[in-house]
């Protein structure tokens, strides 16, 4: 403990020494005061292998209600939820008390989980679900890399915009293991839950309004948390997919074709010519993907939309050679799909010639099902134009964690938006 505390002071000093020498002393004081004030409201969450008792993962949790109710990240307890026979969860308080934890509720979309410990606490954290001013001083508590509890200060960076799944920018250095810890204002009101770090001084928080909502919803819950998670994933995909299906798809020019452009501001797109050395053909590539995903487990994220177009042309190759090239590129035209055997089935596909807007296409449509979240699918649409001798367009669309009907409607709309300009 002694070592930890001196380490903490060093750490805080290190963090704050860049902020300006004058404020160092004051900040250090307030951090120390806040730490002393709130350290009893946080605990370390450890996921253990039941068979061996060894540690599988760690995170931080904080008390949100009387009766030992604790909030942490879904991703901290995901293993426990998906394979309850193999794992169990324990907590360790700042004073060293330990005990078992039970998962009470989850919000898989916003990466939150509500746990219950056998604690008889009176005090707990309160929330500030209202938006606060950018730049406001925010303090974060957690247990980075299993080194002991620390407090660190940062600034509220506002909402990450635009994004499918709302997050707050935390300008400060969250570390692995602080996941699930609270970030709060100087008056102790939680504004968000530590969720992820994207490198130096760039971290994210789940806005506390989602925690408040999870606590409210927790009163009327289905028995099975996997069913709850499935309902949340279904509802979430339904929200954004129906939005995509409702709005017209904006297109952009690619050679003499028009192809889907950025679907919305929640996408990032890139592209360019792929030419490493002089080759008898030309390839122009465009890719887009949604910026956010939903963590299901270490090897499986979901809730993404991504697509890619390739324009391949050649004036040197004859038609047969060109189509050998075209075929080879088409077979490799697929963005990586995550998942393990226990999560998803293998892909099944259908393949046909399709004519649309006078364009002749070879279309492949593939799907696989989620084993733990029935009714959700990963869907791949691949299409290649086959009506030009020495030029062709290929496109691939990957939708993860969507309903079959939504996927089908959107895939159709997506393909329909591709046209040829004389």
């Amino acid at each position: 403990m002694f070592v930890t505390r001196s380490g903490l002071i060093l750490f805080v000093f290190f963090l704050t020494c860049f902020a300006g020498l004058q404020s160092v002393a004051a900040k250090e004081d307030s951090s120390r005061e806040l730490f002393e004030q709130y350290k009893s409201l946080i605990l370390q969450v450890k996921i253990l292998y039941t068979a061996s008792g060894k540690k599988s993962s760690i995170g931080t949790g904080f008390l949100v209600k009387q009766g030992g109710y604790i909030v942490t990240n879904y991703h901290v307890v995901a293993d426990l939820l998906l394979k309850p026979q193999q794992y169990n969860a324990v907590y360790i308080t700042e004073s060293g008390k330990t005990g078992q934890l039970k998962v009470v509720s989850v919000d898989v979309v916003h990466d939150l989980a509500l746990l219950k410990a056998d604690l008889d606490n009176q005090a707990y954290f309160e929330f500030n679900p209202e938006p606060i001013q950018k730049g406001t001083e925010v303090y974060s508590l957690g247990n980075p890399r299993d080194l002991g509890f620390v407090i660190l200060s940062g600034n509220h960076g506002g909402l990450v915009e635009p994004s499918l799944y709302e997050k707050i920018h935390f300008i400060g250095a969250l570390e692995p293991g602080m996941s699930g810890g609270p970030s709060f204002t100087v008056d102790g009101k939680v504004v968000g839950v530590n969720v992820a770090t994207a490198g130096n001084l760039l971290s994210f928080l789940v806005p506390s309004k989602h925690v408040v909502k999870m606590l409210e919803d927790a009163r009327s819950l289905p028995q099975n948390l996997l069913v709850l998670a499935q309902q949340q994933l279904q509802a979430n995909q339904s929200t954004y997919m129906s939005d995509f299906i409702r709005h017209p798809i904006k297109t952009t020019r690619l050679g003499r074709y028009r192809v889907p452009d950025k679907l919305s501001e929640t996408f990032r797109c890139w592209g360019g010519d792929v030419l490493s050395k002089p080759k008898p053909y030309q390839i122009i590539e465009q890719s887009c993907e949604s910026k956010d995903d939903i963590f299901l487990n270490e090897d499986h994220s979901t809730g993404t939309v991504s697509y890619k177009h390739l324009l391949i042309s050649s004036d040197k190759l004859d038609a047969f050679k060109f189509y050998t090239l075209f075929e080879a590129k088409f077979s490799r035209l697929l963005m990586a799909v995550e998942g393990r055997e226990e999560d998803v089935t293998n892909f099944s596909c259908q393949e046909k010639f399709v004519v649309n807007h006078g364009l002749h296409l070879k279309v492949v449509y593939c799907a696989r099902g989620y084993k733990k979240f029935f009714g959700l699918y990963d869907v791949v649409l691949k299409a290649a134009t086959v009506d030009q001798k020495k030029m062709g367009l290929q496109t691939a669309l990957l939708l993860t964690g969507v309903s079959f009907q939504n996927a089908q409607q959107f895939a159709k709309k997506y393909l329909d938006s591709i046209t040829w300009q004389q």
């Binding site: 080759k279 008898p280 053909y281 038609a319 047969f320 050679k321 060109f322 189509y323 050998t324 090239l325 075209f326 075929e327 080879a328 088409f330 077979s331 697929l334 990586a336 799909v337 995550e338 998942g339 393990r340 055997e341 089935t345 293998n346 892909f347 099944s348 596909c349 259908q350 393949e351 046909k352 010639f353 399709v354 004519v355 649309n356 002749h360 296409l361 070879k362 279309v363 492949v364 449509y365 593939c366 799907a367 696989r368 099902g369 989620y370 084993k371 029935f374 699918y377 691949k382 290649a384 086959v386 009506d387 030009q388 001798k389 062709g392 079959f404 089908q408 895939a411 159709k412 329909d416």
Partner: protein, 326 residues
């Protein structure tokens, strides 16, 4: 002197072991050295039987008082004498004997196709052989030409085929050695031709199956196309090689070749059927070919997506199967 009758000693499969032309009577058979026919059978007496004409002019075999007697073949009734006609079979001791008259009619000769078959006829026609070799090499060259979209030198293309060359060479060498062991010829030219033709056929049929797969949107069924082509080519190649290496009759060679290729294809099928391993990628090789092959009527967009209901069923089945098995 004219032959009166022929006496044949048979083995247990009724094949003739030795044959004796009886030209004067009486004719004595026994183990003793004074007989006309000496048989080294411990169960035959020194003087066992006599063959002679009886008073009515019949040719008769009679027991000369032997220890173990005279029997008609497959008959346990000991006889003292029996009339000898064409086809009469007798047993003395452990020896089986059969009579045949000189006017016995034998069957026409079997047609010999061992050295006269389609392949040998092709091999004998120089111009046809050259033509076929040109075809084989053209198929390989065209396949290489179409299959390479980067601009490679001839040397690089040849080096890409090096592994294939080595496999074919080892294959041919194996058959040549086998041929020399079974017959007195190597038939190098024939084996090389069969191997070359087989290789080109594989290339051709493989390419052909790609076009079929494209035209009829059959990427899912590609395995069956593969089985079909493999079955055909392996049968043909084995038949070709075996016709030179084996002295068996054509029907047997066909059966052997078909058997070998069936077992190879069964093994392939078994391997594919057993392999249901998980993959994160789409293991579907969709073929794309030039516009001239777009001969099948295309779906409208809505038709295509309407038919995806089957796909959903398929996936849902697999999902529930995956859950139930847990």
């Amino acid at each position: 002197m004219a032959t009166i009758i022929i006496l044949e000693a048979l083995d247990k499969n009724a094949k003739v072991q030795h044959r004796h032309f009886i030209q004067s009577l009486p004719y004595y058979v026994g183990r003793g050295y004074s007989n006309d026919l000496v048989l080294d059978d411990d169960f035959i007496s020194p003087e066992h039987i006599k063959i002679d004409l009886d008073v009515e002019g019949n040719l008769v075999t009679s027991d000369m008082g032997s220890t173990n007697g005279l029997y008609l073949f497959n008959n346990s009734q000991r006889v003292s004498s029996t009339i000898a006609k064409t086809g009469t079979e007798i047993r003395i001791g452990h020896t089986r004997l059969r009579f045949r008259k000189p006017d016995y009619l034998v069957k026409e000769a079997l047609k010999d196709s061992l050295h006269d078959h389609l392949l040998s006829r092709v091999m004998n026609k120089r111009w046809l052989l050259v033509l076929l070799w040109v075809a084989v090499l053209s198929v390989i060259a065209i396949d290489q030409y179409i299959g390479n979209f980067n601009q490679y030198s001839i040397a690089k293309l040849l080096s890409q085929l090096l592994f294939d060359y080595i496999v074919v060479a080892v294959w041919v060498a194996g058959w040549v050695v086998a041929n020399r062991l079974t017959t007195n010829a190597t038939n190098f030219g024939a084996h090389l031709f069969v191997a070359g033709l087989g290789y080109a056929s594989l290339v051709l049929l493989d390419g052909f199956s790609h076009y079929i797969s494209y035209v009829f949107s059959m990427a899912e069924q590609r395995l069956w196309l593969e089985y079909g082509t493999t079955l055909l080519v392996i049968s043909a190649v084995f038949y070709g090689h075996l016709r030179y290496c084996s002295l068996a009759m054509p029907k047997r060679v066909v059966a052997t070749a078909a058997g070998v290729s069936l077992s190879v294809v069964s093994l392939m099928w078994f391997q594919d059927a057993v392999d249901d391993s998980f993959s994160n990628t789409i293991d579907l090789t969709v073929r794309l070919k030039p516009p001239v092959f777009n001969v099948v009527v295309s779906d409208q967009l809505s038709e295509f997506f309407a038919s995806s209901a089957t796909l959903k069923e398929q996936v849902d089945q697999e999902t529930t199967r995956g859950r139930d098995s847990k």
